[in-house]
Symmetry: C2
Subunit: 250 residues, 2 copies
Amino acid sequence: MRVEIWADIACPWCYIGKARFEKGLAAFAHRDEVEVVHRSFELDPQAPAAGDVPVLEMLASKYGVSREQAEAMESRVAEAAAGEGLGYRSDRIHGNTFDLHRLLHLAKARGVQDALLGALYRANFAEARPLGDADVLTAVAVEAGLDADGVRRVLADGDAYAEAVRADEREASELGARGVPFFVIDRRYGISGGQPAEVFRQALEQAREERAAAQAPVADRDAGERDAGKDEVGEGCGDGVCMPGAGAGS
Amino acid sequence: MRVEIWADIACPWCYIGKARFEKGLAAFAHRDEVEVVHRSFELDPQAPAAGDVPVLEMLASKYGVSREQAEAMESRVAEAAAGEGLGYRSDRIHGNTFDLHRLLHLAKARGVQDALLGALYRANFAEARPLGDADVLTAVAVEAGLDADGVRRVLADGDAYAEAVRADEREASELGARGVPFFVIDRRYGISGGQPAEVFRQALEQAREERAAAQAPVADRDAGERDAGKDEVGEGCGDGVCMPGAGAGS
């Protein structure tokens, strides 16, 4: 099974949702069958690269609320984060995340994507480190297992992995994601938002069970026919979702 | 809260999903706050209006499987239906559902949409009644509380409610629905497939809690400012999903 998670480093509910999803995954009996892939999504592509606007200031300005009200908004999210054992600082900086996503694609190529994603969330939300500063960002990437030279090369070349980031974003839009986090199981089930761990566990369970059910009649056939049959039935109406055309009579 | 459910009468998992959703809704403490709206979706718009192809024949042809294998596929779905206490007959007819959706919009205008939807599912899946036959369809609609004359007028005028059906279908596509059933809570959370009742209950719970959390700082303000503030914060990142632009700093 494959779970793709569209998320942005600047997104509090992506940070919280990652922890909740991982709790749900840990409670899923067949967790060993699950591959998790990070997908890029920018909430604010127009944000300045070297951001220096405090998040509280951005919130107050964006929502037209007082500093106190922005703090109250943040403290609700901080509570949810604390509920997952996550640090959460409201004195962090708001900035552009395009370079962070480019590095996440480098990290994917090196097999340390999940480590880097966790490190970036932690640096931003728990430690309020300014990730718009190339030295800070490089240090975080190195902590996650990347080599400093490789990181600097990617940061210096704005085209490196840029197309990979944009491809992820196009796909999010094609799949109808209107916000993040957006979780997609086997390109069949879409779950939006930082849902409770139990919702994720049940969705994984359900996706697996209904896939197994859809494949069952096929499994009775000769092994040689199995793959073709699996694909056909998988495109149909046997896994809890009926797809257009699946009911067509010809 | 408002739950919109895109579904097709010809879709087994929509039929099963409706029962599961209603079980989840019944277990939701704030069920009285939930409004449920049916939305139109056709799995097979090309199907003949007065269909006379048995579903088993259609399945065997569509998936290139034997009659026995089609029966095995159907018996898996029948088991899931039985698990929800629903009748399920594999000797039903495959046909076009456009007129059924037009009648569901008439029923919405008359306040009996849910009754008609339940009656159509039952007639198709539990009773294998041929809904492509205008007399049968009219009888089912009358059982659900519509007047026979009104039903006949809508069936005779192909334009009646046709635009309403197409508008629903356009919206499904804009929201990124790739199949049905597709459940959307407050235009924020999307859930695909006939998930277990508990998944629906938890999603409702979560949607409500996070909405309450997002509104809380606003509730501390003057009542007069409340509505404006609610909308602003609702568009932001406080209900479990962060929307593009919500993080923009200006």
